[in-house]
């Protein structure tokens, strides 16, 4: 039995949906409305890996007796455990590149993109919610780090200055990706892999959130790369699972930024 608990197919939730469609796997989709904090009402598991959620929010994949979390390790799990299209690089050094990319982009894009996306799209929706219901849902979030990430959206943490810093810090990972694509069409070796699924899911919203950073003239290789991946049938099938029709406008808080400053 394979069940994926997910919200709108964007950022963290998009990754396993793409990987499962690439594998042509049969799975049950368990959609929840993350923007209403519905997932904190689900009684899926008491496992620490699901409770803590190192990315703070994200999908859950239940495979028989195990609940898999963390969007990058989840797509690696899908690649290793399910038959079908190979999604792992073959050579050890290319596998290293996939892991290093997942780790680097997970920390960089995984923390920065959700800040910009949440402030633009999620905050107005939270503010429109019934305050009593919202406060009750917030109070029900057990891990402190996850509760704080939602409260920060409502208490004015994201000042224009913080947003400007997040926008500025995006330049570093984007420049690295643009440079990497100069040496080959994919991020981890000669073929499309989990590294590309991982990068695509976070990159595809940046032209909307920070149009000055990803565009035809600043990042021509990233633009072409995004178009190439968006054309894949599995990606289209994953995006078609959206209930809103605009999955790229639905965000959840992401990875905690470095606590060192």
């Amino acid at each position: 039995m394979l069940e994926l608990y997910h919200s709108e197919p964007n950022t963290f939730f998009l990754k396993p949906l793409v990987a499962l469609h690439e594998k042509q796997a049969r799975f049950e989709s368990r959609w929840f409305n993350a923007e209403q904090l519905d997932h904190f009402q689900l009684n899926t598991t008491r496992d620490i890996e699901a409770h803590l959620q190192l990315e703070r929010e994200g999908p859950l994949l239940r495979h028989d007796d195990t609940v898999v979390t963390n969007s990058f390790f989840m797509i690696e799990y899908i690649a290793e455990a399910l038959p079908g299209e190979p999604l792992l690089p073959e050579a050890p050094y290319d596998i290293y590149r996939a892991h290093a990319s997942g780790q680097f982009l997970g920390a960089q894009l995984g923390s920065l993109v959700p800040i910009l996306g949440c402030v633009k799209y999620l905050v107005p929706r939270l503010q429109a919610m019934d305050r009593g219901k919202l406060d009750a849902r917030l109070a029900s979030i057990a891990p402190q780090e996850r509760r704080v990430s939602w409260q920060a959206l409502l208490d004015g943490t994201y000042t224009p200055q913080i947003l400007a810093t997040a926008h500025e810090r995006l330049k570093f990972p984007l420049a690295r990706i643009e440079a990497q694509l100069a040496s080959g069409p994919w991020l981890a070796g000669p073929r499309y892999s989990i590294a590309d699924i991982d990068a695509f899911a976070m990159l595809r919203v940046i032209p909307d959130l920070a149009p000055d950073l990803v565009n035809e003239s600043t990042t021509p290789r990233i633009n072409e790369y995004l178009a190439r991946i968006a054309a894949r049938p599995a990606v289209q099938a994953a995006l078609a699972m959206s209930r809103s029709g605009k999955p790229e406008q639905h965000f959840v808080p992401g990875v905690e930024p470095s606590r060192w400053g």
């Binding site: 620490i48 890996e49 190192l54 195990t66 690696e76 990875v255 606590r259």
Partner: protein, 255 residues
């Protein structure tokens, strides 16, 4: 093809590939980079790793600079006993826990370590020397960390939060090891190599939270890893008192 490893003490990130290589039985040419002398920001080293972080591994024409992915490479690229479980579910668990160590437990523990050890070890040097050292650091995130350590700019609130997390993580780890023999499940893996590098000195640095009475499973797990020949061999390469802390895991010390 010789493996060249650029590393500091067998501790935290440097110790991860050192121990993984030793477990696989792979000989490597050791290049000691003294973190406290800022060797990692010197031009010769920046030719190897322009980010100026340690460790780095060079294998033929390949350069690897991220310590956890580097360990997976060591396991994938060389013969020797496997350091990853064969079951994909256990592999996933191993990777989740390595991220827990690297991104959650580790940064809180290292913030405390940098405030009580790394900072004081370099702070007495002249201000202009320290500023020049910071100016040579390639990554913004590392410049921020070094500035905090050198000039003791840690806030009480962030140190308190780090202490809270270390205590919380220690409890989470104890609970996990009470249900599993090793981090991934039934077999010793890179998850244990990673966790040992993070936690071998916990009984000394966090004596109130990590000890035989409160965390018997962590203590037993650390001692079992310490007893492995590869661990003995790698920790013997330590040059400072920091690596010597591992000796408190000797069972005779508690007999």
């Amino acid at each position: 093809m010789t493996v060249h490893l650029y590393h500091w003490e067998p501790n935290a990130n440097s110790g991860k590939p050192m121990l993984a290589l030793a477990e696989k039985g792979v000989e490597f040419e050791s290049h000691y980079i003294d973190l406290l002398k800022f060797d990692q920001h010197q031009p010769e080293y920046l030719k190897i790793n322009p980010d100026g972080t340690i460790p780095a591994m060079v294998h033929g024409d390949r350069v690897l600079i991220e310590s956890t992915p580097m360990m997976e490479y060591v396991d994938d690229a060389f013969e020797g006993p496997p350091l990853k479980p064969t079951d994909p579910k256990e592999r996933w668990r191993m990777r989740w826990w390595m991220r827990f160590f690297d991104a959650y437990f580790g940064p809180s523990l290292s913030m405390i370590g940098w405030s009580v050890f790394v900072g004081p070890a370099v702070r007495q040097r002249p201000r202009e020397e320290l500023e020049a050292a910071i100016a040579r650091i390639p990554l913004e995130s590392r410049r921020i960390a070094w500035r905090k350590a050198m000039f003791n700019e840690f806030g009480e609130a962030e140190l308190a939060e780090s202490r809270r997390r270390v205590q919380f993580c220690t409890g989470v780890l104890e609970n996990h090891l009470s249900r599993h023999a090793w981090i991934a499940g039934k077999t010793y893996s890179l998850g244990d190599v990673n966790g040992f590098n993070l936690g071998y000195a916990l009984p000394l640095s966090q004596p109130d939270h990590c000890n035989d009475a409160k965390t018997p499973h962590i203590m037993e797990w650390l001692r079992r890893i310490y007893e492995r020949p590869a661990t003995r061999k790698i920790w013997a390469l330590g040059r400072t008192a920091m690596a010597q802390r591992v000796k408190m895991l000797e069972r005779t010390a508690h007999a």
